[in-house]
């Protein structure tokens, strides 16, 4: 079974932080179309803070994810603080006992992350949220692994499913979050959270694939 060491995995967290920071303006502008225009700003605040702390400690993947999740929950607020915070904490919790991260560990990480998001935000697939990105991504990963494919292939397919999921939000009518107040007017635009979630999952997929 392919795997990479938890110890070397800090870069995975740092990469996804960089991606989010690089897309700060884009995510805010997108949020501006049917939300309140602060998604990139909100995210970037927490992610930048976490980056500093992670740079200082440079421990392992699990601890870096825990730092990121904790900062989001403790200091960021909004909807993204608890949602992404819980997700990253779930990632951390499910990996911390493992020196090596393989497809089984990773599957537990993302499944538990998805669970936390859903139990907290109560969004379903089709509600036009980041749940539309992460749900098919997690399912795709598990299905590909179940078919006996490699960790690397499963990560690749997860990424593609996330992108598809993200794109599926375009024609949806928002049922959760700020955009839900727009009703039909929320159609025709990607959901910002779905986009940022796709950026995160894509980054994770690519960073991990480099390490396998």
């Amino acid at each position: 079974m392919a795997s990479f060491s938890n110890k070397n995995g800090v870069i995975i967290t740092l990469d996804l932080i960089d991606i989010i920071n690089a897309n700060k303006q884009y995510l805010s502008d997108l949020d501006g179309l049917i939300g309140d225009g602060d998604h990139g700003i909100n995210m970037s605040k927490g992610f930048s803070k976490a980056k500093k702390l992670i740079d200082e400690t440079q421990d392992n993947l699990s601890s870096s994810l825990k730092i990121l999740g904790t900062i989001l929950i403790d200091e960021i607020g909004g909807s993204m603080g608890p949602i992404y915070g819980s997700m990253f904490l779930a990632f951390a919790r499910n990996s911390k006992k493992h020196e090596l991260i393989d497809e089984k560990v990773f599957s537990e990480m993302i499944n538990n992350g998805l669970e936390k998001i859903v139990s907290l935000g109560e969004a379903k697939v089709g509600d036009k949220t980041l749940v539309d990105t992460i749900t098919p991504a997690v399912r795709a990963f598990d299905e590909v692994i179940a078919k006996g494919e490699s960790f690397a292939t499963a990560l690749e397919m997860m990424k593609i499913a996330a992108e598809k999921g993200r794109d599926s939000t375009k024609d949806m009518v928002a049922k959760k979050g700020r955009a839900s107040r727009l009703g039909e007017r929320s159609k025709g635009v990607l959901d910002t959270g779905a986009v940022s979630c796709c950026l995160i999952l894509t980054s994770i997929s690519e960073s991990m694939n480099k390490m396998l």
């Binding site: 225009g37 700003i41 607020g77 909807s79 907290l120 727009l182």
Partner: protein, 332 residues
């Protein structure tokens, strides 16, 4: 709109600094920079009253920290829910051992952060119960009343809950009456000009010149209709038509009226509007027991108003009449 600020990303911290200096007699900082508390909190033998929410709504939320009102407040970024940790720290700052009533507004972020904060509080043995304000009629139909947002009606909920706590009510007493307060309260907002989140730098919604948005939310959430700008007299009717049938309010009812500006609308205009609101209520046989007209719950420099009515019974009246003291509301 030109702003008097330093770095846009420090607005909330800078505001908290100024606020706690200006009100150093009654407001204390806490170890969490995003939590302010009443200087006497936790008040011995009293249920703690906590609220919290995004910034940009002055006097809400911190302006309602004070005597017979809120004990501690969790402070979020502009228009963004405070972190779970801030709510948790506010609970700690308010709890004297009699438990904490967390009286807040129905927004996804606040719901999630409060939920997580309550888990943290449970771990430390602090009992927290909540009332979630959902007074904003246009934000969802009546059969989905739990989806409605909380707006200016929250002020009345704090007033009532805060009074009950001071009267010595148990946590359940406070929760029961705060819930009754909000169940008896209906609001509607109308927007005439948009506002800008400072860090975003441009309004994220527009209201055309000559139009107004009926049912607009406290963050510019779209309303139920965009119509040509009405006269104050017409607008009074439009707003009452939204809220009166919803409970409904009937002839013989006694009500509190709260007419709050959203920010840039001069208070003079609120009085012009109030005049017709009072006239229509009077014609309908609805008795105005007390009225509040002013900037009680704003949305940065948005133009427009929120009209809130609360139907009273003798218990609510007693709570509304209790004196209180805070930056946002002082009553002898």
């Amino acid at each position: 709109m030109q702003r008097i600020i330093n770095e846009p990303q420090n607005i909330v911290d800078d505001m908290i600094k100024g606020f706690s200096k200006a009100h150093s007699q009654t407001i204390s900082t806490t170890s969490n920079p995003r939590v302010l508390k009443y200087s006497r909190a936790p008040v011995r033998g009293k249920v703690g009253i906590v609220t919290g929410g995004g910034s940009g709504h002055k006097p809400a939320f911190i302006g309602y920290i004070g005597k017979n009102l809120c004990d501690a407040v969790a402070i979020g970024e502009i228009f963004s829910s405070p972190p779970a940790k801030a709510f948790f720290h506010a609970f700690k700052a308010a709890d004297s051992g009699k438990g904490v009533a967390c009286l807040y507004g129905n927004y996804a972020g606040d719901n999630m952060n409060v939920k997580m904060a309550i888990e943290m509080a449970e771990d430390e043995g602090i009992e927290v119960k909540t009332v979630i304000a959902n007074d904003d009629v246009p934000s969802a139909p009546k059969d989905q009343i739990n989806k409605r947002r909380g707006v200016a009606g929250e002020v009345l909920m704090w007033k009532v809950g805060g009074a009950k706590a001071t009267m010595g009510g148990s946590l359940d007493d406070v929760i029961t009456i705060a819930q009754k307060a909000i169940d008896n309260t209906r609001s509607v907002g109308v927007g005439t000009d948009p506002c800008t989140i400072p860090e975003v730098g441009h309004p994220n919604f527009t209201i055309e010149e000559g139009k107004m948005e009926v049912g607009i939310g406290h963050h510019g959430e779209p309303g139920i209709k965009v119509v040509p700008l009405q006269t104050a007299d017409e607008l009074a009717q439009t707003m009452l038509d939204v809220i009166l049938p919803d409970i409904p309010f009937n002839s013989g009812d006694e009500v509190v009226v709260l007419l709050s500006g959203l920010g840039a609308t001069p208070v003079m205009e609120l009085y012009i509007l109030y005049s017709k609101v009072a006239e229509i209520l009077n014609e309908k046989g609805i008795n105005v027991y007390r009225s509040y007209v002013g900037d009680y719950f704003t949305s940065l420099e948005m133009g427009g108003v929120t009209l809130t009515l609360m139907k009273l019974d003798s218990e609510l009246k007693e709570c509304i009449d209790m004196p209180c003291e805070s930056m946002g509301l002082t009553q002898l």
